[in-house]
């Protein structure tokens, strides 16, 4: 833990919602986890001929936000809208707004590519002079600009507190928890909507393809034959309040977080996992916990050769060989800027329902990995979970979630 950091007052997740390729809302996602049903399918996104699997959310192509929100219309905000509609989330936010006032509820969102798909389409639609179409230029602010998601969520929920969009590649929507905690602790808000949305686009599909990091089959985290990641898309949101202000018993809460950098390379992790180790230790320190207090580690587990090996080094170095670990990317794909919130909320489902997901698609665990990697689902009570997210630029974040007594 940084020298002067205070132990965290747990932050309750009063309400939460999640949409992935596995379904709309936490119910269908939980069911898919239990039934070990992957959301990954052969790539059918637009006209993309890449031989890869994707976790596409159904129905976004034919979707209307309605007149009032029309200027925000893009795939990313459609997905955000879909997320906001599930699990009674809007009602819970309306109640919080009533309780605290619209100025006292912050919005902290994460995304890596925002509505870039609109810009990709606009470039394809340039006129003979090379100019972009007017339907695009007048709406850039509401679609592709990095803040668009924050603007949209704030508009949908009628909130007037501080707002920002964090964009640190894959760690974006894990770091939102840390920023929200600081805003709450500084007394700048009484509640915060945290979350993240990332949607499929050409930039990431062709970008990861150019890096030769896309698997030709559904991704197989921790498998000895793993050959890369599968891209997915997701939207997830949570309402955070201080556990001193809302009833605690049985509630799921954020207990700690750790943020770090590798300081090593833009797209390769530090070979010894130095940044990952720092993030995990920082999260444990802030939660006032020891490694043995953690019942399960939700790995970043992208299924690239390098990520899984380096993460294993960091995790087994801290937790030893007994703590169960798994990656859930075989269900959702790597949802990039939404991976943090997706896996935080999957962890919440594990805590609430007392089960651990095994690593879907992992047939033979890579014998060079030392951690206790779960292949099959397990049913057991779980009290505390650590979730890892590591991203481009060597940007790392670990979260600890747990059930309050």
């Amino acid at each position: 833990m940084p020298p002067n950091a205070q132990p965290l007052t747990p932050l309750t997740l009063t309400a939460y919602t999640l949409v992935t390729a596995n379904g709309r809302g936490v119910g269908p996602v939980l069911q898919a986890l239990r039934e070990r049903r992957s959301g990954l399918k052969p790539c059918d996104f637009e006209d993309v001929p890449l031989k890869t699997y994707i976790g596409r959310v159904e129905g976004l192509e034919d979707f209307s936000l309605g007149n009032e929100l029309d200027r925000f219309d893009c795939r990313n905000n459609r997905l955000a809208w879909l997320g906001l509609q599930q699990d009674g989330f809007m009602v819970a936010v309306a109640e919080a707004k009533q309780r605290y006032g619209a100025h006292r509820v912050a919005v902290v969102m994460g995304t890596s590519t925002s509505g870039i798909l609109e810009t990709e389409h606009a470039y394809q639609a340039r006129d003979l002079a090379g100019s972009l179409p007017a339907w695009y230029t007048s709406r850039y602010r509401y679609t592709h600009n990095m803040f668009s998601l924050g603007h949209f969520v704030r508009a949908c929920l009628g909130l007037r507190g501080p707002a920002t969009v964090i964009s640190t590649a894959c760690s974006s929507s894990a770091k939102v928890f840390a920023t929200a905690d600081r805003l709450l602790r500084a007394g700048l808000c009484d509640a915060a909507i945290v979350g993240g949305v990332d949607s499929l686009c050409l930039t990431t599909l062709y970008g990861f393809s150019a890096l030769q990091l896309l698997s030709t089959s559904p991704c197989r985290p921790c498998d000895e034959d793993r050959d890369g990641l599968s891209l997915g898309e997701a939207a997830g949101f949570a309402l955070l309040e201080s556990s001193q202000c809302v009833s605690r018993r049985g509630a799921v809460a954020l207990l700690g977080y750790g943020e770090s950098s590798d300081g090593y390379h833009m797209s390769h992790p530090h070979p010894e996992g130095a940044g990952a180790i720092r993030a995990i230790r920082d999260a444990l320190g802030r939660a006032g916990l020891q490694p043995r207090d953690i019942d399960y580690v939700n790995l970043h587990g992208t299924a690239t050769r390098v990520n899984d090996a380096v993460e294993d080094k960091a995790v087994s170095g801290i937790f030893g060989l007994a703590t169960p670990c798994s990656s859930t990317k075989g269900w959702t794909g790597h949802t990039l800027g939404a991976a943090g919130i997706t896996e935080a909320l999957i962890s919440v489902l594990c805590l609430k329902h007392g089960f651990l997901p095994g690593t879907l698609n992992c047939k033979r665990i890579d014998p060079t990995l030392h951690s206790r990697i779960l292949r099959d689902n397990d049913v057991r009570p779980v009290r505390r979970i650590l979730s890892n997210i590591f991203g481009f630029g060597g940007n790392n974040c670990s979260l600890i979630l747990g059930t309050l007594r």
């Binding site: 100025h103 695009y136 501080p162 890096l211 481009f392």
Partner: protein
């Protein structure tokens, strides 16, 4: 919430470096904008420097100036990088390539397209393993970055480096987001006991009948309005002129950061 300002880095046409910029902002030198030469960004190894984007070089250049002034070891200082659009030049190249039938994009260009590219290059160049955040709040990205940085300093009781930058947007993307000239600024903020340049008290206020602070000089005011990172100019001007001053920065339509500046006693 109170912090001390320990170092400032600045780069824009007519405002090359804090020393020159301070003289202009304190009105002891005229504002004479001429095109800024490619920043040195001396921290970057030559091969990385060649491959890096303009954003990276501008951001690292001002970050280095501010951190040098603070006398802190950059490996010990967490960072926040604030930019409205981030790597707009890289995104222009990527989207052009993706509009061609082959869509053969460069892997290097792809990993340089993320919003945290400058943040990543800074941590690599300094081998800093501290927390690093990259964020956006459209035109109010500087204010949002400042809020994140001050909150961090006050809650964690340790220094932080804030870097805000936006560069001129290339055509045709400029039709969607016109930004005519580049601007980069860096502030090293620390708990108030370490104050060296100025002390600053922050309050978050509901939007007010008082307008956000602007600049009297019309040429500088034009820069402020053109570039989101240049929304820092009223704060920089207050530091440059010294004395006790109040600066209001807009944070979305609904709120304002109210900053009360005090000269340091030491």
């Amino acid at each position: 919430m109170k912090v001390g300002i320990q170092g400032i880095g600045l780069l824009a046409a007519g405002l090359e470096g804090w020393r020159a910029g301070r003289a202009v902002l304190a009105c002891t030198e005229p504002f004479a904008p001429v095109a800024v030469p490619d920043p040195e960004a001396a921290l970057l190894p030559p091969n990385e420097r060649r491959r890096s984007s303009d954003c990276v070089r501008w951001a690292l250049h001002v970050a280095q100036e501010a951190i040098a002034q603070s006398g802190l070891d950059p490996r010990e200082v967490p960072t926040v990088f604030a930019s409205s659009g981030g790597e707009m030049g890289v995104l222009d190249t990527l989207c052009r390539t993706l509009a061609e039938p082959e869509r053969m994009i460069s892997p290097t260009l792809f990993h340089q397209s993320v919003h945290n590219t400058a943040a990543g290059y800074w941590s690599i160049a300094t081998t800093c393993q501290q927390s690093s955040t990259a964020l956006s709040c459209f035109d109010d990205s500087f204010a949002a970055g400042l809020l994140e940085a001050i909150t961090f300093v006050c809650v964690e009781q340790r220094p932080m480096l804030l870097v805000a930058y936006d560069l001129a947007v290339p055509a045709p993307l400029s039709e969607a987001r016109p930004i005519a000239t580049g601007f980069a600024v860096a502030l090293v903020l620390a708990p108030p006991s370490d104050c060296s340049l100025a002390g600053m008290h922050l309050r978050l206020d509901e939007a007010h009948q008082d307008e956000p602070t602007g600049l009297v000089d019309s040429a500088l005011e034009q820069v402020r309005q053109d570039n989101p990172a240049a929304r820092s100019l009223p704060l920089l001007r207050a530091i440059a002129t010294g004395g006790s001053q109040r600066v209001r920065l807009s944070l979305l339509e609904s709120q304002q950061l109210v900053l009360d500046l005090d000269p340091c006693r030491n």
